[in-house]
């Protein structure tokens, strides 16, 4: 049995030498080190900015720590969690958030899919239309909130001015209980419908043409083709978009802060806005941490259930 012939050499033109096994191991180790070196910065950043704060917040959630009062805070175990879960104030914000999430996501899904469907049927100007529709999504929510606040102002806003020129009554967009929440949903829909549209458009574009051709040969109606080809194939992708939007809507803060400050009264205060108040008005850091952890848990549980449904859908 002869020694293994090396296939490579460090220097071209030089006679290849036998590579000892030990050196091979060291080279593999070196690769691993290199990999670790590449991953380490991102990993450290993730640990520092996400994992450590999460664990620290988890620890604080069991204490009565206050950021302004200082000190380490004493352990109160599950008292913060019990207080959050049994608080009528929290229940009220949960209902507001639920109405908002359902309203905004349903509206965005219907509109986003409709726009994507219409765009997908066009052959000319598709790129331009898509780009134009995407503009709202590229703006900062704070900027969006500010200019909608100006536009929806009952006295000085352009929307009421236009309604007035049409002979219609002025609407109190931001200062009436139900209308304020509807305005939030409307502004969020204006900004985030393009996100659903984009994903739906990707799904629609990926539907194989031959299925439609086969359906045409069978003289299937437009509605039949939509119901039996388009929708089933786009549906899983659309559900992922809905998931992202639902998570985003669940933690809505910026639009509320800018547009209504949670008003009138507390009628548009979402859970995130309430956490902010608990955390930074009274600096009840322990309670706010428990509140935040519970919100994360709700999102994780609902997402898991949703993903299971999605996987089941794919398997079927």
């Amino acid at each position: 049995m002869s020694d293994a012939v090396p296939l490579t050499t460090d220097r071209p033109g030089q006679v290849a030498s036998v590579t000892p096994p030990a050196r091979g191991r060291s080279r593999r180790l070196s690769d691993r080190k290199l990999a670790v070196a590449f991953i380490a910065p991102a990993l450290l950043l993730l640990l520092a900015m996400s994992v450590f704060p999460l664990l620290w917040a988890l620890y604080l959630s069991f204490t009565d720590y206050s950021a302004t009062r200082g000190g380490s805070g004493s352990f109160v175990w599950f008292e913060n969690y019990t207080a959050v879960l049994t608080s009528a104030q929290v229940h009220l914000r949960a209902v507001t958030t639920l109405i908002y999430v359902v309203g905004a996501v349903v509206l965005q899904t219907v509109l986003g899919f409709s726009i994507a469907y219409l765009i997908s049927r066009r052959t000319h100007g598709r790129g331009l239309l898509t780009t134009l529709f995407l503009i709202p999504m590229m703006l900062s929510p704070v900027v969006v909130g500010l200019f909608w606040r100006f536009m929806l102002d009952a006295q000085f806003g352009v929307v009421n001015s236009m309604l007035g020129s049409l002979g219609l009554e002025q609407v109190e967009w931001l200062t009436r209980q139900r209308m304020a929440l509807a305005s939030l949903i409307m502004v969020d829909t204006w900004q985030w419908t393009p996100f659903i549209m984009l994903i739906a458009l990707a799904g629609l574009t990926a539907v194989p043409k031959y299925l439609y051709e086969a359906a045409s040969i069978d003289r299937a109606s437009e509605w039949f083709r939509f119901r039996t080809i388009t929708l089933p194939l786009v549906w899983p992708l659309l559900l992922i978009a809905v998931l992202f939007r639902a998570i985003e809507a669940f933690r809505l803060f910026d639009l509320v802060y800018i547009l209504t400050s949670g008003g009138p009264g507390v009628s548009t205060e979402t859970l995130s806005f309430h956490v902010y108040k608990v955390a930074f008005l009274g600096f009840n850091t322990g309670t706010a941490s428990a509140y935040g952890i519970l919100m994360v848990l709700v999102v994780i549980v609902l997402t898991q259930l949703y993903l299971r449904y999605l996987n089941k859908l794919k398997e079927d």
Partner: protein, 454 residues
């Protein structure tokens, strides 16, 4: 974001536990000042006095300290408390002087965020030059009794800008003489609104951000003989919502609100000024320090010159009813406990310089509202704006809110409650009872373990 923020404040908090027992003391004598270039940073909210202060201080203070530059950093009004106290919580501030609202002092002192200036004031400031209540309101903790100053109490700040509400009325629509009582004012507004379609009778703060709606209710509450609380017994429930308090809420929601513009339920300083400047309100209420822009022809439809505008606009002290109380506004200067020593020394030097009689008069002429009695009564101040006489006349009538560590939560409860009543989200009496109950719960739960803040 919240988690990262909580971690940052929590981690930094652990290092300085010992420093949190009480506010550190400022030296009685100003330490030696640096000869190197130094930037003295303030933090305030965005409004005209902030720009006026930076301009004035850089022009005048540089004459005595050429190496010093004054920077007034501003944040939106709604972020003002958070911008200061999140930095205090991190035990590191990018400002040397915090311009605190009078009601913020309790929170800052209790947490050891600002310097105790008592010894410094004794040695460097002529306290007799001030109206005692103004000096107390912008610096004293525990809070002074309305109209008085406790000379044995510690001082943590010095006045920067005095302020109160002025009644702004349309002389061309309701006559030259301002209404003298609250009832007369409502009647005049009602008549004006009826006689002039498109012009609303009243404009005032109703927003649920900052302290907007709360100050409005507190003002009416004071005028109708109500009290915000029993400070000694720490009692709000049964005091705020007593008969006088309920009458005040009824007047505000059922008599005043119907005279305001549709959709004005989120108005604050700027919106009220805009309504006046565009000729859309017969009578309005606003802070004096924010009223300067009303005389600017570029911002107004009431006239092409200041004189023409003043021919239509009048400024008066608030009407009386059962009492003559008016809200105390304005802010004091407070030295950050976390500012570098050289900057703290510069801050103390600035405050000593700023509180001198001649500087206060110059500040008055530059658009500021002084607190020294001699400056308030000076021609420089009284002639600087048509509303300055209103301030001078209002000083003995002022009443402040609660200056306690729980202020931010108390004012939020009141703001949201009054805003809900003004916008029809709650019945007025229910809103007031809820405010009193929730505020009482905040005061009662100050030592509670766990679940605080909900």
């Amino acid at each position: 974001m919240l988690l990262v923020g909580a971690t940052m404040t929590a981690c930094s908090g652990g290092e300085d536990d010992a420093a949190q027992v009480s506010a550190p003391k400022a030296p009685a004598t100003i330490p030696e000042l640096t000869t190197d270039p130094v930037t003295l940073s303030f933090v305030w909210f965005e409004w005209p006095p902030a720009q006026a202060l930076e301009k004035f201080a850089n022009e005048e203070y540089k004459k005595v300290r050429p190496n010093a530059t004054i920077k007034v950093n501003t944040v939106p009004n709604a972020n003002w408390h958070d911008a200061m106290f999140t930095q205090f919580a991190a035990r590191k501030t990018d400002f040397d002087i915090a311009i605190l609202d009078s009601q913020h002092i309790g929170e800052a002192v209790t947490n050891g965020n600002i310097l105790d200036l008592t010894d410094f004031v004794k040695k460097n400031i002529d306290v007799n030059a001030y109206d005692p209540y103004l000096l107390a309101a912008y610096g004293q903790f525990p809070q002074a009794e309305t109209g008085k100053r406790d000379e044995n109490a510690s001082l943590y700040g010095l006045p920067l800008l005095g302020d109160t509400w002025t009644m702004i009325y349309r002389k061309d629509l309701i006559g030259d003489q301002p209404p003298q009582t609250w009832d007369e004012m409502i009647s005049a507004a009602q008549k004006c609104q009826t006689d002039h379609p498109g012009v609303s009778g009243l404009a005032f703060h109703q927003a649920n951000g900052s302290d907007a709606a709360a100050v409005t209710y507190n003002t009416v509450n004071g005028v109708y003989g109500g009290n915000l609380w029993d400070a000694k017994a720490k009692k709000i429930e049964g005091v705020l919502n007593d008969a006088a308090g309920q009458e005040a809420m009824d007047v505000l929601v059922n008599k005043m609100k119907p005279l305001t513009a549709k959709g004005s339920g989120n108005w604050f300083i700027d919106e009220v000024n805009a309504a006046v400047a565009q000729g859309k309100a017969c009578i309005a209420f606003n802070w004096i320090a924010a009223s300067g822009g009303l005389l600017d022809p570029k911002q107004s439809t009431l006239g092409k010159s200041k004189e023409e505008i003043l021919g239509k606009l009048g400024f008066a002290t608030l009407p009386k009813q059962k009492t003559d109380l008016v809200p105390l506004g304005g802010m004091g200067m407070h030295v950050s406990a976390y500012s570098p020593a050289a900057n703290q020394a510069e801050a103390l030097n600035f405050m000593k310089w700023f509180e001198q009689a001649d500087v206060q008069k110059k500040w008055a002429a530059a658009g500021g509202v002084p607190s020294r009695t001699d400056a308030i009564q000076s021609p420089e101040f009284l002639n600087a704006g048509p509303f300055n006489q209103v301030y001078a006349d209002s000083v003995p009538r002022m009443r402040d809110m609660w200056n306690v560590p729980q202020y931010a939560r108390l004012v939020d409860i009141e703001n949201t409650g009054v805003n809900a009543a003004l916008n029809g989200a709650k019945k007025p009496s229910d809103a007031l009872n809820d405010i009193a109950r929730e505020q009482q719960a905040v005061l009662d739960s100050s030592g509670k373990k766990g679940g605080g803040g909900l």
